[in-house]
């Protein structure tokens, strides 16, 4: 079968033949074809199965409004489901497959649903699959998902790239039909920067599908001439294959350009699609109109399509959809289809004009239309053998994008359609058929005038070419009253007139309720062909007018957008790039294991040869640090330089404790609250000079603390003399901890750092290795004699290597975040698990740090009754009674013998490690009335993990509680 239905004419290149397959069967088409036009040219009408009833379906339309002909394109990682065959540009080698059928499109086992249709009316989910409740997830949903559905995804990675781009212009013209072309020409000739975008691969819109003339030339030729002129203008950007998907705020429009979808594989270096963000204060919506069908019994068979589509296939693609056709219309436009087809030599068996009282009342043909049953105005019923039927119920102005800011379209009885209201997106003007001007002349005129008005042009505008200006002669006909069968309104969702009646019967009469109850207007086509009929039927049933009934409105996107286009380059590791620490290269050389901490990749532990289990490495790192010296990269902590004559006073306001009294050259632990009194962040802040402090924050809050400080500085105390700058990236910082920490650093630091010269909690500017500027802080998170030393980031790697080399006699080790965690929990220091956004200073045992002598963020509300409850949560240490007992973070405290129910919950374990010094698991936790319970026994119960361990409540300071080591 070689293009049996191809007829003369059309905008296809017959000198080239494209080979493609559909469901594995090879076919041929030509450049300029869509998949749908090529299949129709080969006599293939059956292209899909419907969503719910698995009814055989062919294309209803010739455009992006298509509800039926959804196919899977391409294979492997490039497979794309739910693509409309009516807009899929044909290319050589295209592999397309039908979807939602098994085992084949012609013999679909689930078409049994069609026989059982009485069970599947609107609302059947809600009524049928209610009991037993447990069945929903395990039984009903999987079955429904398999039975009712669209295409499938390949589950392979998409090999192609998607890009995002930004464009600016004076005027964005959406749609390149007669109105859009005239608007672009008017603005382009005036020298304005114009973007003309159209979803089609051929610009010209409806002119390419009609035999009408413009300025004496064939419409398509006139369009080609305008496009050629626009292409010569440097200030005009023509964007074919580009769908404007939405009107966003302040003149920002989204558009998807399908750069490579019409190619077997993208040209090397080119993306498959580009998501454009177009900035334009002024835009013209010239998106045309979308024809709507008429609902009658069995109006969904392959071969029944919109009259305008039937003639588009003939005029633009040189395809007759059938050998013998009929037209059913309620307006003059349908008559054009009959005339065009006849002039092309296609046999037109009948024109059924609803305005004369004639109606199509039923059809036959299981896999494709075989005949229609017509009731003539005199009541005579006649069966007419046809294999294609064009249906026109009138044209709906394509108001979609105009309603993206919630503008409701208004009813225009003259064209029996909704037209845009006057409250659309600012700067967006509607022209042409989209505004309800359905003649060619109306489109050309309003397109030109819209450009003049939008841009305030005063010069000579292009002359209007001569074109038809026929009035819209229409008598509304929404559905044919006949019989008890199903008459489809929304073919994609299998919503019929009966379903709307059922919605009315059950009082879902508002359009929004009707939509949700019946699913009318949902899924990939968003009701572009069905919505207006649905609400017209509801209006009729409820005895209201259509304007009274109202309409749902459209939201972005105009047509479905591939996830890849929305993601752009942000996929895989590029979605969330790693920040690498200065010691990363060294750690990689050592085979370190890394952990993600926010965006950072930190060393988790550094295994040595022979260590097979992570605990071996972590235990060794802890023991070696406490025995001699260990080094840890702490660059990830936030660092903020705070300067100004009010710097100290500022810190007093943002920290719960006091910093203005801190001596120069010293540092102090700082506790930062949120205004609600909950602990926000902590860290050490050093006073480097009279008016100069250096703050550190936790890794997690580095960005938000800085933001918060700027808020305090600018919004709360605008006249304080204080300046902030984030220096997190500027300094590489290492913790050097252990009894030999000072001895190691003395081999690098150029100044005297003896205990007398650089005491505990000292801070200052020093130099290392003979002059490199550095900052030194004598602070300890591990509980050891410890320092943090910072050098400019680019020296971080060198500093680490120097410390390891010069201090070799002390056998320094590098420890990771696990050992860091073990040592801080051994010392009872709080971190992420305790700074959980629910806990106050009091809960952490730091209540006395909140100074009441000064105003600070969170001071007042931290005193609220609930937060200051003396029997509230308190930080405690936890040890298993049996040293072999296992603890898990997240376990809940229960009294011995208490049932594991919420009423008996005493609190929870926040952090847990194995302590090589204590010789067992240890943990921190929040326990109600915890201080009074130290020394008692409880249980730590984890119902998820299935553990129930008897524990002893102890002080959170497991190791060196008097801090003798850090002052050493």
């Amino acid at each position: 079968m070689t293009q049996s239905h191809r007829i003369a004419g059309g905008q296809i290149d017959r000198s080239k033949t494209l080979r493609f397959t559909f469901d594995g069967i090879p076919y041929q088409g030509h450049p300029g074809d869509t998949l749908a036009s090529a299949l129709l040219a080969n006599g293939v009408r059956l292209m899909g199965r419907s969503f719910k009833y698995h009814r055989p379906r062919g294309p209803l339309s010739a455009g992006s409004e298509e509800p039926n002909a959804l196919v899977e394109l391409r294979t492997g990682g490039r497979q794309e489901p739910n693509t409309r065959a009516t807009v899929a540009e044909l290319f050589d080698g295209l592999e397309a497959n039908s979807q939602n059928r098994w085992p084949s499109l012609r013999f679909d086992a689930l078409s049994i649903n069609d026989r059982l249709n009485t069970f599947f009316a609107a609302g059947f989910y809600y009524k049928t699959f209610m009991w037993p409740k447990a069945f929903w997830e395990k039984v009903y949903e999987p079955i429904i998902r398999r039975a009712a559905g669209l295409g499938s995804v390949s589950r392979e990675e998409d090999p192609d790239a998607y890009d995002k781009g930004f464009l600016h212009c004076d005027l964005l013209v959406i749609g390149a039909g007669p109105a859009g072309l005239m608007a672009a020409l008017t603005a382009g000739r005036a020298g304005k920067r114009v973007i003309l975008a159209d979803e089609d691969f051929a610009l010209g819109g409806r002119l390419n599908a009609e035999t009408l003339t413009v300025g004496g030339a064939a419409g398509g030729d006139w369009a080609a001439g305008v496009v050629a002129e626009l292409a010569t203008l440097a200030n005009v950007r023509l964007m074919a294959r580009t769908t404007v998907i939405g009107a966003f705020d302040h003149g920002i429009y989204g558009a998807v350009e399908r750069v490579s979808d019409h190619l077997a594989v993208p040209v090397i270096g080119k993306p498959r699609q580009v998501l454009w963000r177009i900035y334009s204060k002024r835009a013209i919506l010239a998106a045309g109109a979308i024809e709507r069908p008429i609902a009658f019994e069995n109006n969904d068979r392959p071969g029944i399509m919109l009259a305008g589509a039937l003639r588009a296939y003939a005029n633009r693609w040189g395809v007759k959809a059938g050998e013998r056709v009929a037209v059913f219309t309620n307006n003059d436009d349908g008559l054009r289809t009959a005339a065009d087809l006849k002039s092309k030599g296609v046999e037109v068996a009948a024109v059924i004009d609803g305005r004369d009282g004639a109606e199509v009342i039923d059809t036959s043909g299981r896999l494709g239309l075989k005949s229609i049953r017509v009731r003539h105005s005199n009541g005579r019923i006649e069966d007419i053998r046809v294999d294609a039927l064009g249906v026109s119920g009138g044209w709906n102005p394509n108001v979609n994008i105009h309603s993206h800011h919630r503008s409701r379209p208004v009813w225009d009885a003259a064209i029996a359609g909704f037209v845009p209201g006057n409250d659309g997106p600012p700067g967006l003007v509607v022209a042409g058929a989209a505004a309800g001007f359905l003649s060619t002349h109306g489109a050309l005129r309003t397109g030109r005038d819209a450009a003049i008005a939008a841009l305030g042009l005063t010069g000579a505008a292009p002359d209007l070419p001569e074109a038809e200006d026929a009035p819209v002669c229409i008598t509304p006909l929404w559905h044919v009253n006949h019989g008890k069968g199903r008459a489809w309104i929304d073919q994609q969702n299998d919503v019929t007139v009966k379903d709307v009646k059922l919605a009315k019967q059950e009082n879902f009469t508002s359009v929004e309720h009707m939509k949700r109850y019946t699913t009318l207007g949902m899924a990939t086509d968003q009701g572009k062909t069905g919505n207006v009929i649905g609400l017209a039927v509801m209006a009729e049933l409820t005895g209201r007018s259509i304007p009274e009934t109202g309409t749902t409105i459209y939201r972005p996107p105009y047509t479905p957008v591939a996830m890849g286009a929305l993601a752009g380059r942000s996929r895989g590791k590029d979605f969330k790039p790693y920040r690498l620490t200065p010691s990363h290269h060294w750690a990689t050389e050592q085979g370190a294991v890394f952990v993600e901490v926010g965006n950072w990749l930190r060393t988790q532990w550094v295994p040595k040869a022979g260590e097979t289990e992570w605990r071996q490495s972590v235990d060794r790192e802890v023991l070696a640090t406490r025995k001699s010296v260990g080094i840890c990269d702490v660059t990830t902590l936030g660092k903020i330089d705070i300067q100004g004559t009010d710097a100290g006073a500022f810190l007093d306001r943002v920290y719960a404790n006091t910093f203005s009294t801190l001596a120069v050259g010293k540092c102090r632990y700082g506790l930062m609250l949120r205004e609600d009194g909950i602990v926000y962040d902590d860290g050490t802040t050093a006073r480097m000079g009279e008016h100069e402090y250096v703050m550190t924050t936790t890794t997690a809050n580095a960005v938000t603390v800085f933001r918060h400080l700027e808020f305090c500085r600018q919004c709360l105390w605008p006249d304080m003399d204080v300046q902030l700058i984030s220096t997190t990236e500027a300094w590489a910082q290492f913790s050097v901890a252990g009894p030999n920490a000072r001895k190691l650093l003395e081999k690098l630091v150029d100044q005297d750092i003896s205990d007398a010269a650089f005491p505990y909690m000292g801070a200052g500017n020093v130099t290392v290795c003979g002059g490199l500027r550095a900052r030194l802080f004598r602070i300890s998170f591990s509980g050891e004699l410890a320092y943090e030393i910072a050098v400019p980031t680019r020296y971080g790697d060198a500093l680490l290597r120097e410390m390891l080399a010069r201090g070799a006699e002390y056998e320094p080790i590098v420890y990771g975040t696990e050992a860091l965690g073990v040592m801080r929990i051994e010392k009872g220091h709080v971190a992420g698990g305790e700074l959980n956004g629910q806990s106050t200073a009091l809960h952490m045992g730091l209540g006395k740090m909140v100074s009441k002598k000064k105003d600070s963020i969170g001071m007042v509300l931290s005193q609220r009754e609930g937060l200051a409850d003396p029997d509230g949560y308190r930080l405690v240490g936890v040890k298993p009674v049996d040293p072999n007992g296992r603890l898990t973070a997240g376990s809940h405290f229960l009294a011995i013998g208490a049932a594991p129910v919420a009423a008996n919950d005493g609190g929870w374990l926040t952090s847990k490690v194995y302590s090589p010094h204590i010789g067992c698991d240890i943990a921190l936790g929040y326990l109600k009335g915890g201080n009074a319970k130290i020394g008692s026994r409880m249980r730590a119960v984890n119902l998820v993990g299935g553990t129930d361990t008897e524990v002893e409540i102890v002080s959170p300071h497991f190791f060196d509680p008097d801090g003798e080591r850090l002052r050493g």
Binding site: D249, E675, V703, F711, C715
Partner: protein, 94 residues
């Protein structure tokens, strides 16, 4: 959205971080106001369908906090001010 920064001109809203109602500027004095006043300050918000003054932070920019007057229904922005200036005009100083 496009925000017309008083210093930097029109900027894409993606460069900003949103905080909330600009009444957050009006923080009571912790040494004189009590829990009730802070409760009002922190938790009580009007939720207007219409003009709303709100705080935005130009994090991917010059780190200015801005007070933006925006219509919550239409997203129209009618005024953009430096929060520091607004704070001063409301009597805040040190």
């Amino acid at each position: 959205m496009i925000i017309h920064h008083p210093i930097l001109g029109p900027r894409d809203a993606q460069e900003f971080v949103y905080l909330g109602d600009a009444s957050l500027i009006d923080r009571p004095d912790g040494m004189t106001a009590g829990v009730e006043a802070f409760h009002e300050y922190l938790y009580q918000r009007t939720n207007p369908a219409g003009e709303h003054q709100e705080l935005w932070y130009h994090e991917q920019g010059d780190r200015s906090w801005l007070v933006i007057t925006r219509n919550t229904v239409t997203h129209e922005i009618t005024k953009v001010e430096l929060a520091r200036d607004v704070a001063r005009s409301r009597g805040r100083s040190q």
